[in-house]
Amino acid sequence: MTTLPQPGHADGQGAFRAPFLSRMHEWIATADHKKLGVMYVTTGLIFFLIGGLEATMMRWQLAVPGNTILSPEDFNRLFTMHGTTMVFLVGMPILLGVANYFVPLQIGARDLAFPRLNAFGFWLFLFGGLLLYFSYFGAQGLYGMGSAPDVGWFAYAPLTERTYSRGHSTDYWILGLLVSSFGSIATGINLITTILTMRCRGMTLMKMPLLVWLMLIDAILIMIAMPPLAAAQVMLLFDRLMGAHFFDPQGGGSAVLWQNLFWFFGHPEVYILILPAFAYVSEIIPVFCRKVIFGYPLMVAATVSIGFISLGVWVHHMFALGLSPMVNTIFMGSTFLIAIPTGIKMFNWVGTMFGGKIRFDTPMLFSTGFLAMFLIGGLTGVMLATVPFDWQVSDSYFVVGHFHYVLFGGLVFSIFAAIYYWFPKVTGKMLSEKLGKCQFWLLFIGFNLTFGPMHVSGMLGMPRRIYTYHADRGWELWNMLSSIGVLIQIAGVLFFAWNVFRSLRSGKDAGADPWDAWTLEWSTTSPPPEYNFEEEPVVHSRRPLWDLKHPEDPDWKYE
């Protein structure tokens, strides 16, 4: 089977529709960064629906105290699968997919540096995900010993050891993630190489669009953070299948070691997920404010320092572990430190809005939503970094609220911003603004209703990952509100699905540059041809299309 791109397909758009099988073959055998990008994002969105369904079932169970919709085992599987899915099978593929599609376009390249490695990475991710979900059918193991994994997404040892987790569900968790994280590492390498070596003429590092900068740092973080996870998982596999004792305290192993290894991956992972969010809004906000990004060099500096510092904060997930006060204090300091570059980014985005002429099209609406939600998530993060407060609320619903503000209000809102922004480029069709705005408001209200009250229930003593609670603890109201919020969010997601479906069938034609934007991807057709650009672009500034559109006042005069 050849995986080389086949000539003669790109120009055939619309004119002639190949039979289904050969179209399938084209997608399966492709090594084109744009096709792979679309496949990543589509798969990610499908997993998003699955993960959302899991969350819905959990909220149904928790809506009232003492509910019996789900058995404890089922509930424990659901939150494990929900967390694992959202992080590894939704966040990762979507961010890799968008990078796949737009990094080459924004730097004026023809493809990623290693197209076939890229395809390999995608298929590893997909089959890793399928392997994980196959556990629902295949991990029966001993009778009654469970199907899907039920150890939580950070899978603390020794709960994952064979003594406490019988059957094969945990093995599926390990192998599924192992496979898919190899895919991520491959794509990370690919992105770094591409960005460093394949920029078009004139694009120095300091002339790269911010998205490219952020994805460069992101890819470096992937390369640093993923291998420790893979190593830890292999060690765990040794424990489980070959009787090693790395994480088995009864055999002299260490439960703390797993936490160190996991969070040495896990914390950078949080930034791996949020940097792309920064990337999307850093592209979108300037375009819709009709203003250049405020303080580009400082934005780059902040990005790099976030990357660095994020490698040195992992212990803040372990403040309640009973480490020495000195260790806790040091990691509290490093965690506070990361608030500074993050704050700078917030200020610079708002600085970009200041004095602009803001158009609230759907991408900007979602980006504004991102700013507001990420502001809250960032500030609750500062609270959590305060060790004494963390001793109260770590592993409580406060934390659940916090990271959903960051990852849902932050990442997912920015993903929707990105989809509304780039969908016209990818498909050549506009999404409906009206449906988009309905979706935004439903999601925004539903989201806050779901996750706002969680901060309260956490401070009232509700731990996370409990399948039931007593009525006398003062948590009913907050849980009920959270569950109602989910219904509103579901409505929002339905609007989105309908919007995509409708516009694919009968959307308005987008043209090459519907938003009057400034980066290179908008200089080619929508969708771009297989070779991306007819001739290799040459740039003189960070906003090549601005220079074209405003020859009297080009950027390169000021940069």
């Binding site: 439960a255 309260v456 009232l460």
Partner: protein, 347 residues
Amino acid sequence: MPSLAMVSSCLLGMALALPALAADPPICADGAAPSPTMFAPRSIPAQKILDVSWFVWGICGLIFIVMAALMIWCIVKYRQKPGDDTEAPQVYGSNPIELAWTIIPTVIVFVLFLVSARTIFEIDHTSPPPDSLEITVVGHQWWWEFDYPEQGFVTANELHVPLTRDGKSVPIYLTLESNDVIHSFWVPQLAGKTDVVPNRINHLWLQPTMTGTYVGQCAEYCGTQHANMLITVVVHEEEDFNAWVANQQADAVNDPSVASGRNLFLQTSCINCHRIRGTVANGTFAPDLTHLMSRSVIGSGVVANTPENLSTWVYDPQIIKPGCRMPSMKLSPEEVKDVVSYLLTLK
């Protein structure tokens, strides 16, 4: 779109008001709030945590208000006017402004750091404070063992501590150990949580300031019944605590009127898992039952300790706490009645 500004400010304001909403819980006569809230501290470390938390909330709240105001201002003020399709003036950045918003957060963060660091060192005791009462807490899937080495007995699921010793406030110094997986000991009104980790010895300092019954629960996911690994802490006046200790120190009562239930208990495998001091029942896998009836709850708090619940439990604990480590003992209803009438004498 002013509606955007309005709705977002409403929501954001609501988010801000949430802690305030939770701030004033009604208080029961005995000092316990109806819920395990961190807003009603009844112990010195919990109070210290709340104090520093208010400080952090205050600062974060201020930052929030400033940022939200700026954002709303921009949203309202800088919307593109209809019909205007010119570009905005391009501002590439400003060194003084950017310097300002690098330095100001740095200063804020530094202050936060110093204040919280002080509290960390005040609360985190690596050795027992002078004159403290030491108790060992052992986490099991899914119940708690409490070991009073000074007083020489072991009990389960209900931690009893005195408010004072010799008339003076007494620090309680818990040693936390786990028998299996990681748990976490969390009673928000008394202290922050500390994990209970196998092969590792952790400590937690409490110093109650008011008598009462406080609830909490395991806060680290530990398997099927994590949700029902609840904690009850009873803070007594000194005399009451001494009376409680005296009772716990005694061996189990041997009431001849329930001899048949007692024999049945001693002949079944109950004794492999449970201990009843003064009998041959010597198991350590499960809660000590010597003074079962001195406890208000069973199954680490999943239900109240009533004769009906006990009967259901002895008949089949999986009905009450599905997945728990006590199997159904397959006793006939009569046998259950016998055994329970024996258990009911274990005052």
